[in-house]
Symmetry: C2
Subunit: 284 residues, 2 copies
DNA sequence: ACGAGCGATACCCTGGGGGTATGGATGCTC
DNA sequence: GAGCATCCATACCCCCAGGGTATCGCTCGT
């Protein structure tokens, strides 16, 4: 099957409108109509039910939309990986969130540099949940990820399980406590991360903004314990005993077998294994 | 990137010879040379180092070969799944080995038919290790697989863990035993499955051939315990206490979300969960 | 009833993908 | 080391697939 035709179909299936899809694709509408018809003929399957007033996907069309998107992504990722592999200065691109390394980054990088297969590491910071897209898209080689994102298309290994702490302004009513529970946080204003659609508190884009808002007393935040290392002196961290533990993982594109990547994974898991456990978590 | 160009490159990279690759592709050699050069220009990367006498892959070329093959497979699989989804008589294609259902097939099918989302099931028997290729290639929707095949690109769920039995001719020296260990089988002639390159005993293609050879006293076989149900009366099954347990899994293409498939997985796991455990395994 | 919106059809035109012929380099053979 | 076979690159030609414009026909909202 032709990738161009498939991309055309995906555009139409997403817009459910030939004219708009054609505009998005930068071509005229008639050739698009023809291309879709040709694709349907080649596959021997009707993909779209078109009345002159509305376009709807058939079952086959729905399948091809899902599968086709992934297939096209795979194609683009293959191209990008080849391009990256062809650069004369080989780099290992590591993607992570700003405060998402569990404080192990220096150790991991140091351990990696001692590996014989090590190549220079380029660290790429990204926003919420972009890790997986960058890895799947072939933009990055390996990533440190939190939580339970959808890891289809990626291999991963658990690095460490962290408890969570609540970050409070120094004058907060809970600031003096040794530890708190989620129940204690009832009614508090929690921030809203850009990209996460949950609404409520103020919108924050990065850790710096978050810190300012906390110091101003406008919000508080529950973060993995390792975030402590990045916080200034005007806030207090208090363990949240019953917050769900956060698993930090290292993830990489499925079946990637480059020696440089393998060495990095090895270094990261070694560092994590020898790391001293943090404060004790309640329950599991 | 164009899929045609990528397919051309994969052919050349596999043959490491433009002329043969062109022949395989059914085109002449000059357009192939041009297409590869064009692909290299588009990607901005040298993929092949060609002297007029030999062609070798660059690092980028090696990456594109690996990734490109998968990407092309994904493309073809997407097309096939769409075609299958477009047929007017929807079927769920289940792939399994001949004696590989752990004896649960009737129960699973019966349970599935009671599901509201059930559609007719087409059972496809396949050879050694073909399951995963058929699933990845979009030829099948769901499969029952044994052992630890490479499941990248597939989701799976464990169904049951079985002990193994050795299948013996009735006159075999071990035929009277209550149970044996692997040490007891030292020196015995084991069959060689077609497709598995391990050599040694006679070559067998299916369970029928195997049975004949066992009855003839030419070989013995170690099989999952559930194979018992399929064996005739001229052989004896003896548990092998220390043989590694075999995990039977149900697997399906990653992220497949059709209701019919989900219902089947549910039915299979339900049946497996309520199944009576078989003979006790030694150790873990 | 009429017009706006949308997909299909008809027709043209151009670029690129494919073909043949041939050149130039590199090993192999005797 | 001359001759030759092999193999990729170049030169040149041709054709059609894919893209554009103009227009039609259908459907629905007002």
């Amino acid at each position: 099957m032709d990738a161009r035709e498939l991309a055309y179909f995906v555009a139409v299936a997403e817009e459910l409108n030939f004219s708009r899809a054609a505009e998005r694709l930068g071509i005229a509408q008639p050739p698009l109509s023809r291309a879709i018809k040709q694709l349907e003929r080649r596959l021997g399957v009707v993909l779209l039910e078109r009345t002159s007033r509305r376009v709807v996907l058939t079952a086959a069309g729905q399948v091809l939309l899902d599968e086709g998107r992934r297939a096209l992504d795979g194609l683009a990722a293959a191209a990008r990986r080849a391009q990256r592999a062809g650069r004369q200065d080989p780099r290992l691109v590591l993607v992570t969130k700003a405060v998402g390394d569990g404080g192990m980054m220096p150790d991991i990088l140091a351990a990696y540099e001692r590996e014989p297969d090590a190549i220079p590491v380029e660290v790429l910071f990204c926003g919420f949940g972009e890790h997986v897209a960058l890895l799947r898209g072939g933009f990055a080689d390996v990533g440190l990820v939190h939580g339970q994102p959808d890891l289809t298309g990626l291999d991963s290994e658990d690095l460490l399980v962290e408890g969570q702490v609540v970050v409070l302004p120094v004058r907060h009513r809970l600031a003096g406590h040794e530890a708190v529970t989620l129940a204690d946080l009832e009614g508090e204003v929690l921030p809203r991360w850009v990209g996460l659609s949950q609404d409520g508190g103020p919108e924050v884009r990065d850790a710096g903004q978050l810190m300012q808002l906390i110091v101003m007393g406008r919000t508080i935040a529950v973060l993995p314990e390792s975030a402590r290392a990045y916080l200034g002196g005007d806030v207090v961290c208090v363990p949240v005993l019953d917050a769900p533990p956060i698993t930090m993982m290292i993830a990489w594109p499925e079946q990637s077998r480059s020696p440089a990547l393998a060495a990095f994974v090895r270094a990261a898991t070694d560092v994590a294994a020898h790391r001293k456990p943090s404060f004790q978590q309640v329950g599991r």
